[in-house]
Amino acid sequence: MDAVTSLFPWITNGPLIVVQVMSGLSVAMFLFLVSVGMSLIFGVTRIVNLAHGSFYMVGAYLMVTLVETLPAHQAMFWVALVLAPLGVGLLGGVIEVTLLRRIYHREPLLQLILTFGLILVIGTLVLLVWGPDNKSVARPDALAGSVRIFGQPFPSYYLLVLGLAPVVAIALWIVFYRTRWGMLIRAATVDREMLGALGVDVATLYTQVFIFGSWLAGLGGALSAPTVAVALGMDSDVLTTAFVVVVIGGLGSFAGSFISALLVGELQSFGILVFPAVSIVLLFAIMAVVLIVRPWGLLGRPEE
């Protein structure tokens, strides 16, 4: 025990651990928003959208612009938080209709290559529109400070994120399991040919799902904008972490994304305490273990 406490002095610091758990939960919330969208799009269209991190980045940058251009009023933060993800949803819709729709019948690898190409295109366009400098978004006044939790400071904005997490998770659960549209999505995940044969307009469903998934990524980006430096490298960072989340949870699984986002969020939060520089390597080590034991993820299904 002495060896442990000397290596990890924080281990006896209860309040610090609580705060660390909570910040891990808020990281998990962002991860969940991105990875559930990615997983959803994969489940229905069988396309792994590698540009999903780029959508997240666009959401954050739109947030920057909206907060700057909307009239300076406290309520405008919330307006921007609604509008930015809608903009990303629109972008996703345009990409689906003009590009992805042409390649659904083609080899999965070509689809991957296409979304891989979109990373570069979107990344450069963001550079051209917003420039190379990092941006930041001011938190609304009510959430700008921090609260004390067991004596440890904790940013109030993260409380908002933590409060939203269960709301979003329950809302998504209702959409997936209690609406007709959600039923169609789940049906498409199981057998899309059959769904089409039963008279459902699958092409429209694909577009809707892609827009919805992009919207979720945009929401994650917009919500995270006040917590990070909005920068050009966000796309690949987010893609990599979201990828770890979906691989651990299983592509196409809603619950898998949720559990795995929690796991990865906490790991990141504590990994920074344990191995500050290389916490990402720890994540990949866990992913490697999952891939060896269950290559299709904790709650996913084996590939056909």
Partner: protein, 307 residues
């Protein structure tokens, strides 16, 4: 006929650097390096049906190994260059062990994720790699320092490596790899150890990518973490897509086209280069699945994934 054509090509390669302005000699050197990188990549993609989205990792491992051995361990340059591919192959063996367990989508994504790890390590391990500043002044010995000398040196090394790759593709191993690409299950029934063949191909591909990286380190005179970044992983993919997948020399033709485009676009408008690269990939996928060379040849091919 073919041997005559070969001799003409060889003569051209020997004479061209002498008559071209030194600016184009540099471009030709780079073409040879890119062609080697893309051909190594295509051993996986074209012949093995495995698409790696993170091949920059092995290129970067080779480049950093060469640079570090020369700078930190003060090894002579030829020895460092000869060791670089083995370091890259060791990396490919370690990552490949996990990657070849997966297929198609997961294969591509895991390779991308591992390349991100390599990038992160190169970026953050400042004491060894210099982080963002990279490692500077990695030059070949005086005898090879002139653009012309290094051009011939690169031609010789890359040429021999491509001959070796050609021999691999034409060997029984190469045919087993094609069999796995076409139908992994049937390949297994006739006694091919699918996963071991795929891993071996992955390691070989990493080996030659590392050699390309080592050549590039001395060509460039410096190495940076960007060598392991996404944009670099795009390069062989775009080159192979431009050149066509299932011919051995497709990547070579693609590299010529790619470098000419890069020379004119990237130097004029460096900011637009990634945009161009990305759009080219998107357009080729949507409009010209055969690649430009494939379009000329009208040869049908299919990418088959290893299942």
């Amino acid at each position: 006929m073919t041997s005559v054509r070969w001799l003409v090509a060889l003569a051209l390669l020997l004479v061209l650097p002498l008559v071209l302005p030194s600016f184009l000699v540099v471009v030709m050197t780079e073409i040879a390096i890119v062609a080697l990188f893309a051909t190594a990549f295509n051993l996986l993609m074209g012949f093995g049906g495995m698409v790696s989205f993170g091949h920059a990792a092995y290129f970067a491992l080779g480049a950093y190994a060469a640079a570090l051995l020369v700078k930190q361990a003060a090894w002579p340059m030829p020895l460092a260059l000869a060791t670089a591919p083995f370091v890259a192959a060791a990396g490919a063996l370690f990552f490949g062990f996990f990657i070849v367990r997966l297929t198609q989508t997961y294969f591509a994504m895991l390779s991308l994720a591992f390349a991100q790890i390599v990038f992160t390590v190169l970026f953050k391990w400042k004491t060894l790699t210099g982080g963002d500043d990279g490692i500077l002044n990695v030059w070949p010995p005086p005898a090879l320092k002139s653009p012309l000398a290094y051009c011939y040196f690169t031609f010789a090394v890359a040429g021999l490596a491509m001959l070796a790759l050609r021999a691999i593709v034409d060997s029984p191993f190469g045919y087993a790899l094609r069999a796995i690409r076409e139908n992994p299950r049937r390949a297994r029934f006739i006694g091919v150890n699918v996963r071991r063949h795929q891993l071996f191909a992955f390691v070989l591909s990493g080996f030659f990518s590392g050699l390309a990286g080592g050549l590039f380190a001395f060509f460039n005179g410096s190495v940076f973490p960007d060598f392991a970044y996404l944009n670099k992983s795009f390069e062989p993919l775009v080159v192979v897509l431009l050149g066509g997948i299932q011919s051995f020399f497709g990547p070579l033709a693609g590299a010529v086209g790619f470098k000419i485009l890069e020379t004119f676009i990237a130097r004029q408008w460096p900011v637009y280069w990634p945009l161009f690269l990305g759009s080219a990939v998107v357009l080729v996928v949507v409009a010209l699945p055969q690649g430009f060379v494939g379009l000329l040849q009208r040869r049908s091919w299919r990418i088959r994934a290893a299942r």
